[in-house]
């Protein structure tokens, strides 16, 4: 694997990344967290779209691997000043960096960056930290990592998620998290169900490797190992996706009542940031079943594993 652009990984590649993340996770428990693995390497966090949590997670991951991490944010980048995305990416690469972690509001941006770099700077690695409504592969990997630890604890290494039943609920259509999970989790053997308002399911979702339904309560009546709630974005209301917040909550929110009906060991997940009271109640977000903070912690370990496996193998530029 040269770049990490998509959650569509081969099972063995995904498992080896998850296992590498286990190694990194152990380091997090130490007092001295820094590993020398990427000393002398430079990673640019190019965030053309703001995301404090994902950027911080990558930044910490890079620093704990002793890489030099440079943040380029949307406002500081020159894209807004008329420089093309291609020019910006190639300019960063020309400074002699080893990897670029890229978040962009447009679908396919990371893939294009990788295509441009493969021609001019083939040693530079691209890690997709979220592209538009397309993919967010490290999020899917950290979800798989956190869930695997929850389910299998110390016996996690080497395992997939075979037979694990996961429902992903909310705005599937605009969710890069949903797309990456729909590709990654089934590759690990999991059974994925998408549930959301009919207006927020992507066209052709029935052809994905998932079950698709609009009936949240019916989904909750089936045994579930994990339930992942997605963020709902009310600013999309000009798109007339749902009649009202109230109607959304009645149909698709993880309310206290719905949570009470879940099995005690169903893991509740959310990629954050959460709209408490909208897609998830505060109690559901914070109860013992919730893995929300573990997901955040896992994010650092998983991203360390990704940076390490993509960049450490190469000779420095």
């Amino acid at each position: 694997m040269k770049h990490l652009l998509t959650g569509a990984l081969r099972r063995e590649d995904a498992i080896s990344l998850l296992d590498a993340a286990e190694d990194m996770h152990e380091v997090q428990d130490r007092q001295l967290k820094k590993l020398p693995a990427l000393r002398g390497r430079t990673v640019v966090n190019a965030f053309f779209e703001n995301s404090t949590r994902t950027r911080s997670s990558f930044e910490i991951a890079g620093k704990w691997l002793s890489a030099d991490v440079i943040n380029v944010s949307g406002s500081a980048s020159s894209v807004k000043k008329g420089e093309s995305l291609r020019d910006t990416v190639l300019t960063l690469a020309a400074m002699g960096i080893d990897g670029i972690v890229m978040r962009h509001g447009d679908s396919g941006a990371a893939q294009l960056a990788a295509d441009w770099l493969d021609v001019s700077f083939p040693s530079v690695r691209v890690i997709n930290a979220g592209d538009g409504a397309h993919e967010h592969p490290t999020q899917a990997l950290l979800d798989a990592f956190a869930l695997r630890r929850r389910l299998f604890g110390a016996q996690s290494r080497g395992r997939g998620l075979d037979g694990v039943r996961i429902a992903i609920a909310g705005d599937i259509a605009h969710s890069r998290v949903a797309r990456s999970n729909a590709l990654l989790l089934p590759a690990l053997g999991a059974e994925v169900t998408f549930v959301g308002p009919p207006t927020l399911l992507p066209p052709g979702a029935d052809t994905w490797n998932t079950t698709v339904t609009t009936d949240f309560d019916a989904v909750l009546q089936q045994p579930l190992d994990a339930l992942m709630m997605l963020r709902v974005q009310l600013e999309r209301q000009r798109g007339a996706f749902v009649p009202s917040v109230g109607e959304y909550i009645v149909g698709w929110s993880l309310t206290d009542e719905r949570r009470a009906k879940l099995d005690d060991d169903t893991v509740i997940m959310h990629p954050g940031p959460m709209n408490r009271g909208l897609e998830i109640s505060s109690r559901a977000a914070e109860g013992l079943q919730s893995a929300v903070l573990e997901q955040v912690t896992s994010g650092v370990s998983l991203r360390m594993a990704v940076l390490y496996s993509l960049i450490a193998g190469e000779e420095p530029q």
Partner: protein
């Protein structure tokens, strides 16, 4: 001035000489006169091609194309007349701008450049532009379009149709329901869902065409549908024609050949509006040209400077250049599979678009007494399409690297040679 074209296959049929005198076709047959000779042995003689839909970007977008560079692209492609869309900056919504474009075309001197007037002021869709004044100007505008945008307000569309009727004008509609296509960048489909790109559903085109057909019937006026792209649109146009409505329709070469699968790598080169669609749409469009439901092929030649395409798919500009590749793509997608004959090419790429646009001199292809607009094509040639064949200012062709049949060798425009041995004559 006398030019003799020796031994051309007239409209792909019998071999004959063409005598051109004083800018007019004087004789077709065995010509014994003397003058400039063009050896056309093995070449097919077509009438000069006419494109009802190009974007020449001038004024305002000269980094992508000018009337002069666009005229070169047109000549290279075998065209002798083009209709230039109004979405320039400033918009061609006034006598001043349409006369400017008209005059720039004359100065370039390679093809007739007929300006298209905007339907609404600034293409804003709020009030009618001065359609009658543009019609009476020396630009002699007969085609009106807000292309790039849809005249979506049904009342404005009705008024425009009513207003142009007395002077034989036509409203060319870019059929795109705006609310159904907010932020849309590709065909809405299983693929758009996977790629996470906002979809442009077929119904956004079809619903406008259906409405406009009924408005044309109501007003007894002429509507022309730009760049039809879906099988459903074909059905609606077919229905409207059967009902006797004055509706004409065009298809672009790229919609006759390319499909949405090309977008899987997010290459902005393939970003175009309306978007590339499915195989079934391509087949329906080809059949619609064959049965006459679609009247013409028009390029929607849309040049863009490199930087407009070297960015993310969603951020990139819509459009592709098409003048130089139009005839080869028509040969490949319509003639080679047997949908139409070479002689029909003269209709869909010359006489029919001229008739829709009110352009004289093209009524009967290669008629004695008509202006000498003649394109000589080597239909036996088959070669990989490269940037060397592009004569305009921009290189955003989706056909680069694809083997295409046919090569334009010589073009006469009003008797003057604009292309010789495959190269534009300066």
């Amino acid at each position: 001035m006398t030019t003799i074209i020796r031994g051309a296959k007239i409209l792909g049929g019998e071999t004959a000489d063409l005598l051109v005198e004083d800018g007019v076709i004087a004789e077709i047959g065995r010509v014994s006169a003397e003058g400039d000779e063009i050896d056309a042995a093995g070449l097919v003689a077509l009438p000069g091609l006419v494109d009802l839909h190009v974007h020449f970007r001038e004024p305002g977008g000269e980094q992508a194309e000018t009337v002069a560079t666009g005229s070169r692209a047109a000549a290279q492609g075998g065209f002798t007349a083009v209709f230039a869309m109004a979405n320039t900056s400033p918009v061609a919504d006034s006598v001043a701008v349409v006369e400017l474009v008209h005059d720039l075309g004359r100065r370039a001197g390679l093809v007739d450049v007929r300006p298209i007037g905007a339907v609404t002021v600034g293409l804003h869709g709020e009030r009618l532009a001065e359609l009658g004044l543009m019609a009476r100007s020396r630009a002699n505008v007969r085609v009106f379009s807000d292309d790039g945008k849809c005249v979506h307000d049904p009342l404005l569309m009705r008024r425009a149709l009513e207003y142009v009727r007395p002077f034989g004008g036509v409203v060319a509609q870019h059929a795109q329901e705006p609310r159904l296509t907010e932020n849309a960048v590709m065909h809405e489909s299983e693929l758009s869902g996977r790629l996470g790109l906002p979809g442009w559903p077929s119904v956004a085109e079809e619903s406008i065409i259906a409405r406009d057909a009924l408005l044309a019937e109501q007003t007894d006026s002429r509507v022309h549908v730009c760049h039809v792209s879906t099988a459903g649109s074909v059905d609606i146009v077919r229905w409207a024609k059967a009902r006797g409505i004055s509706i004409t329709a065009e298809v672009t070469p790229h919609h006759l050949m390319l499909t949405e699968e090309l977008l899987a790598g997010y290459d902005p080169l393939y970003k175009v509006n309306p978007p590339l669609r499915r195989d079934e749409d391509v087949f329906a469009l080809r059949e619609a040209v064959a049965d006459g439901t679609i009247d013409i092929v028009a390029t929607d030649h849309a040049p863009h400077a490199d930087e407009m395409k070297r960015t993310s798919f969603e951020d990139a500009a819509f459009g592709m250049v098409g003048l130089e590749s139009a005839l080869p793509v028509v040969l490949k997608t319509l003639v080679e599979p047997g949908h139409i004959e070479i002689a029909d090419v003269a209709r869909v790429l010359s006489s029919a678009p001229a008739a829709i646009g009110g352009l004289t001199g093209y009524r009967e292809p290669l008629a004695v007494g008509a202006p000498a607009n003649i394109t000589l094509v080597d239909t036996a040639d088959s070669s990989v399409f490269t940037t060397e064949r592009l004569a305009g200012r921009s290189l955003n062709s989706p056909f680069l690297g694809i083997e295409l049949p046919g090569r334009v060798q010589h073009v006469l425009h009003n008797g003057y040679r604009t292309v010789a041995e495959g190269k534009v004559v300066e």
